[in-house]
C-alpha cells in the first residue's frame, strides 16, 4: 500500500488556440500523506487553480498522473480511470471554491445545494434521509439547520463559504482541494473559516490541498508548501524548512515581501525585476532568470531540473546548492 494518499506525477495542462499554446501547468509532481495539508502558493496567473482543477478532474489534464490510494489500499490513476470508477471515486476527492458569491446557485435553496451531491451519487437515497444528512452537515460547519430552506442571498460571505464546505463534506470525502477558500472573506471571518477547516480535518482525518496567495494563511494551515511560478513548481518542502531556509530565489523574494501585522517589523524586500512573463511566450532556460538577481549564463540556456536536495525539500534552480538564501525572520515582540 502506498505511503501517500495522493501522488501527482508529471502533470501538464496546455491550452491551445489557433496559433498559441499556453502552458498553464508544466511538469508538476508532489505527493501528500493522509491527513496532511499541502499549501500551494504563487502569484495570480501562475496556474494554482488550474492545478487544483486538474487534480479533481474538473478539467482534463493534457498528460500526467494523479495516483489516488483509496480506502482499501488500491491505487488508481484518477486521471485515467473509466467513467464508472470515476463516479465511485469522485465522492472521495472534493473541492471548495474561491468565490462564495458565484459558486452557489442563487435559485437553489441551501438544502438543495447541500443535498445535490447526494442526489447525483445516491439516486436511491430517500429525501428525508438526505435532509437529515444535510442538517447534520450544517451543524458541523456551524450553520443553523433551520436556515436550510433559505436561498444563498440571505447569507453573508462567511456563511456562504460554510455552505460550500458543507456541500463538499456531505459525501464524506477523504481529500479536499480548497481553492482560495478564505481570500474573499473579511479578516475576522477568515479566522473563523480557517479554524473550521482545521477542526473538520481533525474530526474526519481529511487531507487538504490548500491553494492560496496569502503566505501567512498558508503558513498557518499547511504541513508542506509548494511554490509555483509560471506553471512550474519551483520549490516544495516542509512548511518550516521552506520559510526558514528557502532554496529558490523566487521563494526568497516572495517571503521578503510579506506584510506583517506589526508596525515595528522592518521589511528587507528583495526587489524583483520586471514583471511576470507571458505564459504563452515564456523565457528560455529557467523561467525565472530574467527577474532573478542570482542569474548566471546557464540559467538563460537550460531549464533547471526539479530535484530533491535535502530530504523532502525539492527545488528547481541551478544554483540551489551554492546559494545561501535568506529565510523569513520575525521575532515576535513581547506583548505590552
Amino acid at each position: 500500500m502506498s505511503e501517500y494518499i495522493l501522488e501527482v506525477k508529471n502533470l501538464y495542462k496546455e491550452y491551445t488556440s489557433k496559433k498559441i499554446t499556453v502552458k498553464a501547468v508544466t511538469d508538476i509532481s508532489f505527493s501528500i500523506k493522509k491527513g496532511e495539508t499541502v499549501g500551494i502558493v504563487g502569484e495570480s496567473g501562475c496556474g494554482k487553480t488550474t492545478l487544483g482543477r486538474c487534480i479533481v478532474r474538473g478539467i482534463p489534464a493534457t498528460r500526467g498522473q494523479v495516483l489516488y490510494t483509496a480506502e482499501d489500499g488500491v491505487t488508481y490513476d484518477f486521471l485515467s480511470i473509466d467513467k464508472k470508477k470515476l463516479k465511485e471515486l469522485r465522492k472521495e476527492i472534493q473541492m471548495i471554491f474561491q468565490d462564495p458569491y458565484s459558486s452557489l446557485d442563487p435559485r437553489m435553496t441551501v438544502l438543495d445545494i447541500i443535498t445535490e451531491p447526494l442526489k447525483a451519487n445516491f439516486p436511491k437515497m430517500k429525501r428525508s434521509e438526505m435532509e437529515v444528512r444535510a442538517s447534520e452537515m450544517a451543524l458541523k460547519v456551524g450553520l443553523n439547520p433551520s436556515y436550510l430552506k433559505r436561498y444563498p442571498h440571505a447569507f453573508s460571505g462567511g456563511q456562504r463559504q460554510r455552505i460550500g464546505i458543507a456541500r463538499a463534506l456531505v459525501l464524506n470525502p477523504r481529500v479536499i482541494v480548497c481553492d482560495e477558500p478564505v481570500s474573499a472573506l473579511d479578516v475576522s471571518i477568515q479566522a473563523q473559516v480557517i479554524n473550521l477547516l482545521k477542526d473538520l480535518q481533525k474530526e474526519f482525518g481529511l487531507t487538504y490541498i490548500f491553494i492560496s496567495h496569502d503566505l501567512s494563511v498558508v503558513e498557518h494551515i499547511s504541513d508542506k508548501v509548494g511554490v509555483m511560478y509560471l506553471g512550474k513548481m519551483v520549490e516544495f518542502a516542509e512548511t518550516e524548512a521552506l520559510f526558514s531556509k528557502p532554496l529558490h530565489p523566487y521563494t526568497e523574494a516572495l517571503l521578503s515581501s510579506v506584510p506583517v501585522a506589526d508596525p515595528t517589523y522592518k521589511m528587507n524586500r528583495i526587489p524583483l525585476r520586471g514583471e511576470i512573463p507571458n505564459p504563452a511566450n515564456p523565457p528560455s532556460g529557467c523561467y525565472f532568470h530574467e527577474r532573478c538577481s542570482y542569474c548566471i549564463d546557464i540559467c538563460k540556456k537550460d531549464a533547471p531540473e526539479y530535484r530533491e536536495i535535502e530530504e523532502g525539500h525539492f527545488v528547481a534552480c541551478h544554483r540551489a546548492e551554492e546559494l545561501k538564501l535568506k529565510g523569513f525572520t520575525y521575532d515576535e515582540p513581547e506583548a505590552i
Binding site: E43, S44, S156, G157, G158, Q159, D186, V187, S188, I189, Q190, A191, Q192, I194, N195, K198, H213, L215, S216, V217, E219, H220, F243, A253, L254, S257, V258, P259, V260, A261, D262, P263, T264, Y265, M267, R269, P271, L272, E275, I276, F328, T329, Y330, D331, E332, P333, A335, I336
Partner: protein
C-alpha cells in the same frame, strides 16, 4: 505654520442611504482629522462605511446618499466645508483631483478601455495645470516615470489592456498624483495585487508622500499593510469609529474588544504557531433599523447587559491620542485578550 497643520477635519459625519427596504445608516457619526504629511489608516470590514466616508470627502457619493456633518478641508483658498459646496460647482471641481485625489480599489475597472493611458492621465493635467498640449504631455510622462512605469513615452500611447494589473495601478497612482495633491485617499490600493507588486506599490506611495509632503488617508482591511504604512489608525465598525490611536498603540495595546479580535485573528508568519486563530463570533449586522446601544453588542464578549444595549458609548481618551468608545473599557471590566471561539 507649525508642524501640526491640519489638512482635513471630519466632524460627526452621517451618511444615510435610502433604499426600498428602508434607510440604511451606513456612516453614523464619524470624526477624525489628518495632519500634513501624516498617514491615517482607516480599518474595518467590508460594509462598515469606509469607502462611503472617502467618497464623501471628494463629494462623489451617489445621489441616494444623504450626508450631514462637516468636512473641513484646508484648501488653497482657505478652509472650506466640502459638504456645503454644490457637488457640481466650480469650487469643488478645483479641489477634486487637484488638491484631493483618490486611488481606487480596482485598477482594472477604473480606466476606460477606449482611451490611451496617457490621455486619461492627461485629462487631469490639462484641467488643472496647463492647457498647453505639449507641456501637459511632458508633465504626465514625467509623473509616469516617477511612479516607475518603464518606457513612459511609449506607454503613454498604449491602451489599458496592454498594461498588467501592477502597471495599471501605477498609472492610477500617477493620475492621482499628477497635480500634486495635498491629500491622497487610497481606497484599498493594493488589495487586487500580488504580494511582490503590493510591496512595490506601498513603497512607491511612501516615497512620493515624503517627496510631495502629502497627507494620506489609507483605507484597507489588511492589517499587514496598515502596520507598514500608517502613523495613526482608526478602526471602524458598523459606521462608527470605535478606536483611534497611534499605530503601535493599536497593535500592541488594543483596548476595544473589536480591535482586539481583529488583531488576534491575523496569523503572523514566523510567530509561534497557534493551534487556533482567535476569531470574532458572528457577523456584521446590516445597518438598517439598528437597535439602540453599541453596534458591537451582539458579538462582544465584554458586553454589559442593560448598559451596552441601551446607550451608545462615548469616546474616552485612554492614552495620548488613543481614544476608545466602549462602556466596558470605560468601566475597566474588559481586560485581557480577545475571546477565543
Amino acid at each position: 505654520m507649525d508642524g501640526k497643520e491640519t489638512i482635513v477635519k471630519v466632524n460627526n459625519l452621517h451618511i444615510n442611504i435610502s433604499m426600498d427596504e428602508g434607510i440604511l445608516t451606513a456612516v453614523r457619526g464619524v470624526s477624525f482629522h489628518i495632519d500634513r504629511g501624516e498617514t491615517l489608516g482607516l480599518v474595518g470590514e467590508s460594509g462598515c462605511g469606509k469607502s462611503l466616508t472617502c467618497k464623501a470627502i471628494l463629494a462623489i457619493n451617489d445621489r441616494k446618499c444623504s450626508t450631514s456633518g462637516e468636512i473641513l478641508f484646508n484648501s488653497d483658498e482657505g478652509e472650506v466645508d466640502i459638504l456645503k459646496l454644490p457637488p457640481k460647482g466650480q469650487e469643488i471641481r478645483n479641489i477634486r483631483g487637484k488638491q484631493i485625489s483618490m486611488i481606487f480599489q480596482e485598477p482594472m475597472v477604473c480606466f476606460s478601455p477606449l482611451y490611451t493611458i496617457g490621455d486619461q492621465i492627461n485629462e487631469c493635467t490639462r484641467l488643472h495645470i496647463t492647457k498647453d498640449k505639449k507641456k501637459s504631455r511632458e508633465i504626465t510622462i514625467d509623473m509616469m516615470k516617477k511612479v516607475g512605469i518603464a518606457n513612459a513615452e511609449k506607454r503613454y500611447d498604449q491602451y489599458p489592456h496592454e498594461f498588467s494589473g501592477g502597471m495599471l495601478q501605477r498609472a492610477l497612482i500617477a493620475m492621482a498624483l499628477v497635480c500634486r495633491p495635498k491629500l491622497l485617499i487610497a481606497d484599498e490600493p493594493t488589495t487586487a495585487l500580488d504580494v511582490t507588486i503590493q510591496a512595490q506599490i506601498l513603497e512607491l506611495i511612501k516615497e512620493l508622500q515624503k517627496e510631495l509632503k502629502m497627507s494620506v488617508l489609507f483605507v484597507t482591511h489588511d492589517l499587514g499593510t496598515v502596520a507598514r504604512m500608517c502613523d495613526r489608525v482608526a478602526v471602524m465598525y458598523l459606521g462608527k469609529i470605535v478606536e483611534t490611536g497611534p499605530v503601535e498603540e493599536i497593535y500592541f495595546n488594543p483596548r476595544h474588544p473589536y480591535t482586539k479580535g481583529l488583531i488576534g485573528s491575523v496569523h503572523k508568519i514566523g510567530s509561534k504557531r497557534k493551534e487556533r486563530l482567535e476569531s470574532i463570533e458572528g457577523t456584521v449586522p446590516l445597518a438598517m433599523n439598528l437597535p439602540p446601544g453599541c453596534g458591537f453588542y451582539d458579538r462582544c464578549h465584554c458586553r454589559i447587559d442593560g448598559v451596552c444595549n441601551v446607550k451608545d458609548p462615548e469616546p474616552v481618551e485612554v492614552g495620548p491620542g488613543h481614544i476608545v468608545s466602549c462602556h466596558a473599557v470605560e468601566r475597566k471590566t474588559c481586560e485581557g485578550g480577545a475571546n477565543i471561539e
